[in-house]
């Protein structure tokens, strides 16, 4: 397995290099100069020349790419043209929000989708099955941005002043301030070091941070803000997972060994969970792995609707503002994350099914 992992990681290198090249070229192919995007009307040739020289944008493309690739390998993501701050800093600030949203969405999709799929398969053609499958069909057909807006309308306006009222935007209510865990614990951290970055990164996961600091007010507020975007983002994956679970279970339930298990007098629960579900799991895991890409794309839309400054929205804004360093840094990190998730999915096959030989 270690060998397989290493081989897969090596095989991912050309893909990552491809991603680097494509990102680099696409970012530069976007019409409009960063200088004009930055200064607007005030962008005179003289100002632009100084600006380009300062950012290294006056060098030939190939030189720019070599510098870019070298910096990337060193973990230096450069400085945002628009914010004049290191890209890494912005990434640390915004990535946790998107991960929190995405992981919550996938968790909702998995924890609701799999049971629904199993029950539908067990009670095939029952009213519950029919309703679930109709719901799943509608779920995969729904535009995320529409669902988000409708959820906001229902839960922020129609259910206003009821216990079900939920905030339609932002990550926390105004005035709610999470205190980073390292400050609560009184850790001495020197700014600018790797440890400081890591601690800062972790503390930006508000749910995680408020749990370990025991700040329940912030936790409740963060969760309430997370529900609507996470549900909107989870709907399509949920529908896909429920459908896949149902069809995979149906296939397994029809097999001889399941009948044997039933004939042996095993309890229904044991037959379903130990014998059938375990074997139906592989295609389900594959489809769950594929959902991460979908969730990332959906995050761009969800973050726009719910006013969240996450990676998706930042990237969209960076593209409109020709902020090359942000585009490059974010896209590369996302692509690497994507490759890693796919690898994890493949590795999980071997854990879930001992018959799978990774080679």
């Amino acid at each position: 397995m270690t060998q397989y992992t290493i081989r897969r990681l090596i095989a991912a290198i050309p893909v990552i290099v491809g991603v680097l090249i494509v990102t680099f070229l696409l970012a530069r192919a976007i019409p409009g100069e960063p200088c004009t995007a930055m200064f607007g009307e005030k962008a005179t040739p003289a100002i632009c020349a100084t600006f380009n020289a300062e950012k290294g944008l006056d060098k030939p493309l190939s030189t720019q790419f070599v510098i870019f690739a070298r910096d990337m390998l060193r973990g230096d993501f450069g400085e945002s043209i628009r914010f004049k701050r290191p890209v890494l800093e912005i990434l640390i600030e915004r990535l946790p929000q998107t991960i929190e949203l995405g992981v919550t969405a996938v968790l909702i999709a998995v924890s609701v989708g799999i049971p629904l799929g199993i029950i539908s398969a067990l009670r095939r053609n029952s009213p519950l099955d029919v309703i679930t499958m109709i719901g799943a069909n509608i779920g995969v057909s729904m535009p995320v941005f529409w669902l988000g807006l409708m959820l906001a309308y229902v839960f922020a306006l129609l259910l206003k002043d009821t216990p079900f009222q939920l905030p339609p935007s932002g990550r926390l209510s105004p005035g709610v301030n999470p205190i980073p865990f390292y400050e609560v614990y009184g850790w001495q951290i020197t700014a600018g070091t790797f440890r400081a970055g890591l601690a800062d990164f972790l503390s930006k996961f508000y749910i995680f941070n408020s749990i370990i600091t025991g700040n329940w007010a912030v936790l409740g507020d963060a969760i309430r803000h997370l529900i609507l975007p996470a549900v909107a983002l989870a709907t399509i994956p949920l529908a896909i997972i429920a459908r896949m679970t149902r069809s995979s279970m149906l296939e397994v339930l029809g097999q001889d060994y399941v009948r044997t298990a039933k004939a042996k007098g095993l309890r229904q629960r044991a037959v379903v969970m130990k014998h059938a579900f375990r074997n139906a799991l592989l295609p389900i895991v594959t489809i769950i792995g594929l959902q991460f890409g979908l969730v990332l794309s959906g995050a761009i839309l969800t973050e726009t609707i719910f006013g969240l400054a996450g990676v998706g929205r930042s990237l969209y804004e960076a593209i409109t503002a020709r902020d090359y360093p942000i585009i490059q840094g974010f896209v590369v990190v996302i692509a690497i994350g994507y490759v890693l998730v796919n690898l994890l999915v493949d590795l999980s096959y071997a854990v879930l099914d001992p018959r799978v030989q990774l080679d």
């Binding site: 050309p14 893909v15 990552i16 491809g18 991603v19 494509v22 696409l26 970012a27 192919a29 976007i30 019409p31 499958m133 069909n137 509608i138 995969v140 057909s141 729904m142 535009p143 995320v144 941005f145 529409w146 669902l147 807006l149 409708m150 906001a152 309308y153 922020a156 306006l157 890409g293 979908l294 990332l296 794309s297 959906g298 761009i300 839309l301 726009t304 609707i305 998706g312 990237l315 969209y316 593209i319 409109t320 585009i327 896209v331 996302i334 692509a335 994507y338 490759v339």
Partner: protein
Amino acid sequence: MSIVTEPTKPVATLPLDDAHVGNIDDYRANSLWRLTFRRLFRQRSALIGLILLAILLISAVFAPLIAPYDPEKPLIGIEAVGKREGPCIHILGCPSDRPQHIMGIDGNFRDVFSRIIYGTRVSLYVGLLTVGFAVITGTLLGAIAGFFGGWADNVIMRVLDVVLAFPFLLLAIAIVSVLGPGLTNAMLAIAIISVPAYARVTRASVLSVREMAFIEASRALGASNWHILFGRILPNSLPPLIVVATLGIATAILDTAALSFIGLGAQPPTPEWGSMLAIERNQVFSAPHLVFFPGLAIMTTVLAFNLLGDGLRDALDPRLVQGGAPK
């Protein structure tokens, strides 16, 4: 599907006397396509998909007859309507002296229902054209990769892997940013990012069909590579491709609407559902009908293609296809 469990007599065991061989037409009558259509019509969900699709097609073709108003011209000076007025339906109690607008009025004093009807044209056009382009490109690439193998396979598939390494919407946004916003460019971007899916499907089925005996027979008869690929292999790789393409139309419509929603696709005043939603999204609390109906229209269209695609998949499933056993 009960067809699988029904015991049927395998074709090979039929006696090869004149009476049976003479009935060769019976074999043809049960062609894959006829079986597929018969199965398709037997499924409730696929039937619903077909009906929805028929309604959409009728709306698209007869839009000028169905839509009561011009989709792009404001009603100022034509009728006394308020900005972003809610739906007014006479049979539901709306006073009959007021003009009927079953989906309300938008921020530019236009009839929303007429815009939704005309929007059907845009959406179907988007779905069919985008997928058409992606299927042709993807099939060509996948067929070449699968049939010739070796370095062609490696180069093509690795390049497509890079496309797949991006979250699709992100890449689409980047491509549209390069090409410039607009419906055609948005469609092109969606087509480009969906090429890998079709290439992979085609490659997989080409790989399996390539090894079959009738291909060897063709080769033995002296057929050229191109003839084998386009005349023999590709027609036999079609079923999975048709399923993926039908489902792909649904995705293409959804994604193009998403691009229009963030302002990169169709531009006003085109009656495109995604951009209709985008323009009025901040009015969701005061005029929810302006967000609700375009979204519902997108969902219905996507649902129609999804149901049809799923139905086709079941109908074309090779495990369910019985050879041409005579009745």
